[in-house]
Amino acid sequence: MIHQIIFLYFATVILVSALLMITRRNPIHSVLFMLLLFFHIAGLFVLLNAEFLAAVQLIVYAGAILILYLFVVMLLNVDQERQSVRANRFWPWVAAFGVLIAGEILLLISRSTFPGDAGKTMATPGAGVMELGQALYTQYLVPFEIASVILLVGLIGAVMLAKKAVKE
């Protein structure tokens, strides 16, 4: 019971802050709502006995990525989004389509059974870091190494696009 109430609290705040994040015109406000969102997602991870993921969520997303966002926003000095029209004449159609698809997915999900419904939990309490490390360096070693290549690709691409043009 208490578990459910805590879950409902986190879920509600996540939904509300996500909505506020994409509707604010001031980018700084959006980023702050995103911070709220990340904190509550970390809370959900704790509820699922995944403490390590919760810590990573806070350190990487809330700590590193968000600060980077704030820096970019401040450096580019985009404190106010340009007052352009957000909705054009297509938006009722787009919105209707989005609602339709979302309703369809919700209907399908409400009718299906999850493995977790049978009383199985996703992770055991207290365990996590060791299992994660072992899985990462044995079974998932290949994707772990490949993931580092993605960072390299992003780096090269960014440097290439941002560097100054050379004169012949």
Binding site: S112, L141, P143, I146, I156
Partner: protein, 478 residues
């Protein structure tokens, strides 16, 4: 199944290790000596080494390296195809970038890394390797598409590709999460078993979302809207790369992922793929009729070609893997050839993408016009070219599984396609073109085009040995 990587597993990963190492060597090479020719030679050496290592790679039907990568003959064939296509793209890029100014060396780094991503896709048997492969390929392509920063069109194409590829990745991820929620495994083999035996609603929703994401990458109707703009805006060799390496790798993954599933006639997946295939054929060909820009015509034509290819996914029996393998090889050769001609005709200021650039080409550059004509005829599927044999096998595979609707649509569309290919050929042989050749074609460009033409004629006139090779490779795959 062993979870750790053994020495024999490392041996099976040799092509991937070589491609990664090649990217590192090229990067260090640029740091020491910034020279266009030197970088290209290093890149070509890396690709050749990667292709050569396939001879020593121990392919086996159950050669899983952990559960993520399966290095069997199927993967081997597509790896060879991808490396060969990238080799041709690099040759063409050299002649294209040589006449452009500025720093050009980083381009080849991105090409090498994109090939690595494509190779991972061709061997993936697990959601983790599937997604990482897609991401490496896409992120490299963002940079390549926008490579010519001084052209507005190139930047526009890069931004469009970035946004749509990111959205499609989000679709794929959400689909994977739903599939995992029901199946409890991310391995293709286990998902296929569950999908065959009356999968639940979550699994179905997840699969549909994955199809949406993959549809973006393959540019099939109705997920094709980015294609003409990106094809038009990207530099010509990059367009060739997107049309061949990127789509070929994703199609290999589609064959691996959905090929194991029991796609029954009348089932939901069968219906979805049939609608996508028929719509891609018709929309691709009909919209191509209305284009004036050669690159846009080729973009729409590539949409319809992927539509043809989907017939092999729906067909049953062992022939379908042979048909798709041969069709992709023929499609690679012809597409690279056509874009190769566009590449060598491009000038420093713009790509040769107007129909007027080709008017009277036959009287200025007879050899080039001959190559261009052969490639276009092959795309249309005229006898004596590779495209004809490939389409023949496609129709044979379709009839073998009694897919009458798809076969009839395919044949009708081949006739429509002939019209716009012939319109370009007509312009090439018209008498009212501008006079005189402007500049000589570089050695690497003509070498690549010559090799592609030989491959086209070989596949079209004497396909026996190649078909036998595909047959023996694909037999062990399933």
């Amino acid at each position: 199944m062993n979870t750790a990587i053994s020495i024999s597993g490392l041996k099976a990963l040799l092509p991937f290790l070589i491609m990664t190492a090649a990217a590192m060597v090229v990067m260090l090479g640029i740091a020491f000596r910034r020279d266009h020719r030197f970088t290209v030679l290093l890149t070509l050496a890396g690709l050749a080494l990667g292709g050569g290592s396939l001879v020593f790679t121990p392919f086996a039907p159950d050669r899983y390296v952990t559960t993520l990568v399966l290095v069997d003959a199927f993967a081997g064939y597509y790896l060879a195809l991808l490396f060969a296509a990238a080799f041709a793209v690099v040759c063409l890029s050299y002649s294209y970038l040589e006449i452009q100014g500025g720093h050009r060396e980083e381009y080849y780094l991105l090409v090498l890394l994109a090939v690595l991503g494509a190779a991972v896709l061709a061997a993936a048997t697990h959601f983790a390797s599937f997604f990482l492969g897609i991401e490496i390929l896409s992120v490299s392509l963002y940079g390549l598409t926008a490579y010519q920063r001084h052209r507005d069109q190139s930047v526009e194409a890069g931004v469009k590709y970035l946004i749509l590829a990111a959205v499609s990745s989000a679709f794929i991820l959400f689909g994977m999460a739903l599939v995992y929620a029901e199946v409890g495994s991310m391995e293709f083999a286990r998902i296929a078993i569950r999908a065959g035996a009356a999968g639940g609603a979550l699994l179905g929703t997840g699969l549909v979302l994955i199809i949406v994401g993959l549809g973006f990458k393959l540019a099939v109707v109705p997920f094709h809207l980015w294609t003409p703009d990106v094809y038009e805006g990207a530099p010509a060799p990059v367009t060739a790369f997107i049309a061949t390496v990127s789509k070929g790798a994703v199609f290999a993954l589609v064959l691996r992922f959905f090929g194991n599933m029991d796609i029954r006639v009348g089932g939901a997946l069968f219906l979805i793929f049939t609608i996508i295939a028929v719509a891609s054929m018709f929309f691709g060909n009909l919209l191509a009729l209305m284009q004036q820009n050669v690159k846009r015509v080729l973009a729409y034509s590539s949409i319809s070609h992927i539509g043809y290819l989907l017939v092999t996914l729906l067909a049953a029996g062992p022939l379908r893997l042979n048909a798709s393998a041969f069709y992709l090889a023929a499609y690679f050769v012809t597409t690279l050839g056509v874009f190769g001609v566009v590449t060598v005709l491009s000038t420093r200021d713009r790509d040769a993408d107007k129909l007027d650039d080709y008017r009277g080409l036959a009287w200025r550059r007879p050899w080039l016009a001959g190559v261009f004509t052969a490639m276009l005829l092959s795309l249309a599927g005229i006898p004596l070219t590779a495209g004809f044999i490939a389409k023949f096998y496609l129709v044979a595979a379709g009839i073998g599984s009694a897919l009458w609707l798809l076969v009839i649509v395919l044949i009708v569309n081949s006739a429509i396609g002939l019209f716009y290919y012939l319109r370009i050929i007509g312009a090439v042989y018209s008498m009212d073109g501008p006079p005189g050749p402007s500049m000589p074609i570089s050695l690497s460009g003509s070498a690549a085009l010559g090799g592609l033409t030989l491959a086209l004629l070989w596949l079209g006139i004497y396909p026996g040995p190649f078909l036998a090779l595909i047959g023996s490779l694909m037999q062990t795959a399933h």
